[in-house]
Symmetry: C2
Subunit: 687 residues, 2 copies
């Protein structure tokens, strides 16, 4: 590993490795291997490469990932795997440091294509395709999204109609809007696809199911009836060959239907282990939660990389002479610069640590250790909410870091602009963030009050309603947060009090509860309304629902950070690092309180006098954390080979030293020109 902490002036002498341990979590070794793989030049995109060169390099990178054995981890032991899901995702998401294109292309191949076969297929199907898929010998697509339907998967237009006579399914794209779109591996590499289609047999549509459909010959020629369009240039992820796929009555054998949640007998009889079509559909989708889980972690890697680059630059770069000396002021010493970077650094810690709790849920469910309806729902809600907030945070952080690096941040070689372009689409794929947050919000409502379980709210809410109503109730723990908040916030106003974790938690939790109960009250009449009127009422509160979901996810993430801090404090072996982590927790907590301050003042229990302290405390925490900022980003575990941004290394420092030396020597020379001010001073003296 190349974890080289730059020399720093601060006295606390933080040890980055202690914090790396906190951040890396249970699968630290997998993360280190992932970061090593990300440092391998063979996994990088060629600078200035053509679209074809970028794609070829990314495909080669997918091969490296397969060779490393990473993609085999989630397989059952019988198939040479380790039934190890958290470990796989932890290592996999670090590939973002190689390039987001590689992370996504590998995700399409191993997580989505192989994952769908593993989670939706039977043993015979595993034996037939899985080894080729995880080894990268059979490159495949995950053909779910259509032009006409992205997040609303239930309404896909593609059909797979069974013919008992031939024992085949006929896969068909009945109109243009049903064309599969934005499909990774479609434009160039895919030889097969897991295609999601309305399964029709014996005159009945059993809803969306998945089939394996060969799409190209080994040499890459389209198979009969399959047509492609290349999505060409996208905003980012240029190494991923996205494209469109349309099917013109393409025949596949009955055995290509992935049968875990629905099978068709030779005579066309349909059977499924899940009777309710709604529940069946959402259970099937639930098996694909890994995509969202790993995007949450990938977004965190993006945040970390950007902060690593911007903090190291801000530590070196000087601009505008300070009043006290000829030496210019370090960017990191400017208060506004601290306010731009430090709250985002604290947020990255919160997202990283919260992601670890998500990975643990994921491991428990997918390893089978704790696989119940309840744990699956917690996982799905967490994954949806976490992914939404972390992908947005990554975009915000990368952009702020880019601007904080000025013109240098705009150069492609310094990677920030590329990271933004690549991570951009994370906000809308694997579930549009706005739709995902409505899913979280709806679950909050249902946990708050039983009656919301069965309401059909129409619109996007209908989708969410249907999904959740099929499930048993999952308690989000809302009933427990309202306790004694008054006691916590009426004590004397001191900075220490504002930095109390109990106060932060009480305020964050009270906000969630108040928002959800307010929403429940406003939406209660919907139960007695016509569907149309109910849908309209619901729509009038859609924004509040999304905001409540955001508040809830912020609370969960803050809690993860808080718990990690307490664990480190309780362990007692690293007091300096625990103190830094407490500052991080406080800065993150107070940033959240500050962001929603108006709400807290209007609806919460935060007295004005205390509220006014928050901004000052944020300023002070920013200054303190800025003193340790280089160690705090060193804890991310990236070296020059993962960062690969010249401005984050020593070039700036060296140039400045050279300039200083020039001026030192020049001023010592007799012929060094004086400036006009000096000239006048001398003239005055003479006169």
């Amino acid at each position: 590993m190349n974890t080289t902490a730059a020399p720093s002036k601060n006295a606390t002498a933080l040890s980055p490795s202690v914090l790396t341990e906190v951040l890396d979590g249970s699968w630290a070794a997998a993360r280190r291997r992932g970061r090593e793989m990300a440092a391998d030049p063979r996994a990088h995109l060629p600078a200035g490469g053509s679209l074809e060169e970028l794609r070829a390099a990314t495909t080669a990178g997918v091969g490296l990932v397969a060779e490393s054995g990473l993609s085999r981890l989630p397989l059952p032991e019988a198939m040479g795997g380790r039934n190890s899901h958290g470990e796989y995702v932890a290592g996999f998401e670090e590939l973002v440091a190689a390039s987001p294109s590689l992370q996504i292309k590998a995700g399409v191949q191993f997580g989505l294509f192989a994952g769908a076969i593993q989670h939706l297929g039977n043993e015979e199907q595993h034996a037939r395709w899985l080894d080729d898929a995880v080894s990268g010998r059979l490159l495949g697509c995950f053909a779910m999204t259509e032009i006409g339907h992205g997040s609303d998967v239930a309404e896909l237009g593609t059909t797979a109609t069974y013919e008992p006579d031939t024992g085949e399914f006929v896969v068909h794209t009945p109109f243009r809007a049903a064309t599969k779109e934005y499909i990774g591996n479609a434009a160039r590499d895919g030889r097969a696809a897991v295609v999601f289609a309305q399964l029709v047999t014996n005159g009945v549509n059993h809803g969306v199911h998945a089939l394996v459909v060969p799409i190209r010959t080994e040499d890459g020629a389209p198979l009969p009836g399959v047509s492609f369009e290349d999505d060409g240039k996208k905003g980012g992820l240029l190494g991923v060959d996205n494209g469109r796929i349309a099917f013109d009555r393409v025949r596949v054998p009955r055995e290509n239907l992935l049968t875990r949640y629905g099978a068709v007998a030779a005579d066309g009889t349909y059977s499924s282990p899940i009777d309710s079509p709604g529940r069946r559909f959402f259970t099937m989708l639930g098996t694909l939660v890994q995509g969202r889980v790993s995007l949450d972690g990938a977004a965190v890697v993006g945040q970390k990389l950007a902060l690593d680059i911007a903090v190291r630059y801000a530590d070196q770069r000087r601009q505008f002479a300070s009043a006290s000396s000829l030496e210019e002021t370090r960017l990191l010493d400017y208060q506004r610069h601290q306010r731009r970077l430090m709250p985002r650094l604290a947020e990255a810690y919160a997202h990283a640590i919260a992601h670890e709790t998500l990975l643990q849920s994921f491991e428990r469910v997918f390893s089978g250790a704790e696989d119940t309806d309840e744990t699956r729902q917690v996982l799905e809600t967490q994954a949806a909410g976490f992914k939404a907030l972390s992908t947005w945070a990554a975009l915000d952080t990368v952009q702020e870091c880019r601007e904080a690096c000025g013109g240098a941040g705009f150069m492609a070689e310094n990677r920030l602009v590329g990271l933004h372009a690549d991570l951009d689409v994370y906000a809308t794929f694997e579930g549009d963030n706005t739709v995902l947050l409505q899913l979280v919000g709806k679950r909050l409502l249902q946990d708050y009050a039983e009656e919301f379980r069965d309401i059909d709210f129409g619109g996007a809410a209908r989708f969410i309603g249907a999904q959740a109503a099929e499930h048993t109730l999952h308690r989000t723990g809302l009933a427990n947060v309202g306790r004694a908040i008054g006691d916590l916030v009426t004590a004397p106003v001191k900075e220490k009090r504002i930095r109390s974790g109990k106060v932060q938690e009480a305020l964050l939790a009270d906000r969630v509860e108040t928002m959800v109960s307010g929403l429940a009250q406003a939406l209660r009449p919907a139960a007695k309304m016509s569907p149309a009127a109910g849908a309209e009422l619901f729509n009038r509160h859609q924004n509040e629902l999304v905001e409540a979901a955001i508040a809830y996810v912020e609370l969960l993430k803050w809690r993860s950070l808080n718990e990690a801090m307490h664990r480190l404090e309780d362990a007692g072996h690293a007091p300096a690092e625990a103190k830094a982590l407490r500052r991080i927790r406080d800065l993150h907590g107070l940033t959240l309180l500050s962001r929603h301050m108006a709400w807290h003042l209007m609806y919460g229990r935060l007295p004005m006098a205390r509220a006014r302290l928050i901004e000052e405390t944020v300023d002070r925490l920013c200054t303190k954390l800025a003193a340790d900022a280089v160690e705090l980003v060193a804890a991310f575990g990236y070296g020059p080979q993962q960062r690969r941004a010249p401005i984050a290394e020593d070039a700036e420092r060296e140039r400045q030293a050279e300039a200083r030396e020039y001026y030192r020597r020049a001023r010592a020379r007799a012929d060094w020109p004086v400036d006009e001010k000096e000239l006048r001073r001398r003239a005055k003296k003479r006169g």
Copy 2:
């Protein structure tokens, strides 16, 4: 013009052309010509072109601009111009619709290179270079920024040392950090450069001056002593050939020094019409304000284009079936979608209309109609503040529009990702936004209290302090805003009252005044401190200073919008459009109040009960404006040839019609498969 309003359901029947007139302002004809030029395929970048192809196309576009006569408008009448500056900038900034690369490259050539010669040169120099520059025959660079110094121009390292013996200046890059960097036209096209360097003659450094330096032969070979590096791939603006230039003792004749603010006689004697070196420096920089003025307008064009695309898509795109019918719900009908787009639409109107007031200031000063220290300062402060807020708003709006268009928004062909990538650097060039806002903040302080005129605060503030201290006091009008705010906000709480323009203005203005007076009080002790302690005190309030500047610019822009609304109302000929503009003003005003609500509750005079009404009122205004949204973006005056985004045209609508028709026919067929629910209903009926 291709202003085609899509069919819309709303009843108010707004006329986009009335609003176009409001938005286009005094130089509407120039804007129309600019938009026509932007529709010319010869001005567009080739899709998927290589870096060299993109650059060549952009260079060709610069030629088209010159041919159009646009670049000649600002010249004096004696030189074939019209001394018409606002008109020039108005037409010029519309080039963003062709491509931001063209706008920036043309800006480098005509605004910066030719502009510097015009504003800093003498008549002989005009005669020598200006015609070649505005005609594009002599492509040139504006070589100000260095690797080591961006916004802090006074500290540039490049030297121009006069030698009386030869009558030449020796232009030299003494160390690597003094290399000119990010210079447009440097990597490929530039044949000459206006180089900013420390002017040294007779052993005295007279500070930064500009010289014309030939850098390449006509064939493009570097001249002796001049070396180049290509910046290669940037985050955007790929059509602009940015690069580095270093000088190794390059000699130019004495006559190449642009002499308006400083000349050197043959014997080396220096003379200047401005005695104070600080004032001379900032007066010289002030002549270059056009760059910031036009970036403000260019950012507005970016906002408009993005909203035009996203609103048209949201008007067509349907997703998730509504409760009441099989027809899916239009994106534009979802409350959250309205909340994402409508406040930004209102903001775009505010920025566009405010930009018109900035252009008018610019015209008055640069035409000579009202060219005083006072008007120049108002102009510089406005330009700095407006540019900062509009470039950030453009990035925010383009990103939100991209996400609001889902995966389609991520396709390069739909332009949103390219607009974001291109406009990204607008936030940090021609003055980093954060530095510009400190300049505005410092002026606010100085207007508030005389004593801040002469304080040297150190750091970035030193730069700003020096700049402003050289100027006479410009009254920002702060003393007048505190009047009777209590009377305005204690009246009964009704939506109408919250929508009162007087209340909005009073609250926005009160915030500025309270922030500035608070800052002044906090910073007052600095006058009696050592420079180092004063600088530290100042730095502890840097964030507040920037926030106060933002508040002030928000107030100015809101006022422009408010005045334009009153003008349209008073004219009386367009009541429906005036009503829409009132909604836009209210939505923008309430969005600003909502954004800073915590402040208003804590420090302002907004009662809780009234504050709670704001969010509801914002919801209602969003819904009302969404009904007119297509007309409101049609008013921007762009047609398919300026938008050039397939999703904004009718493809989506056509695909949906095709899908609907498929389902209509299919359902009418006897063999159309029923779903499981229907099957069960039938079974029940039979049972």
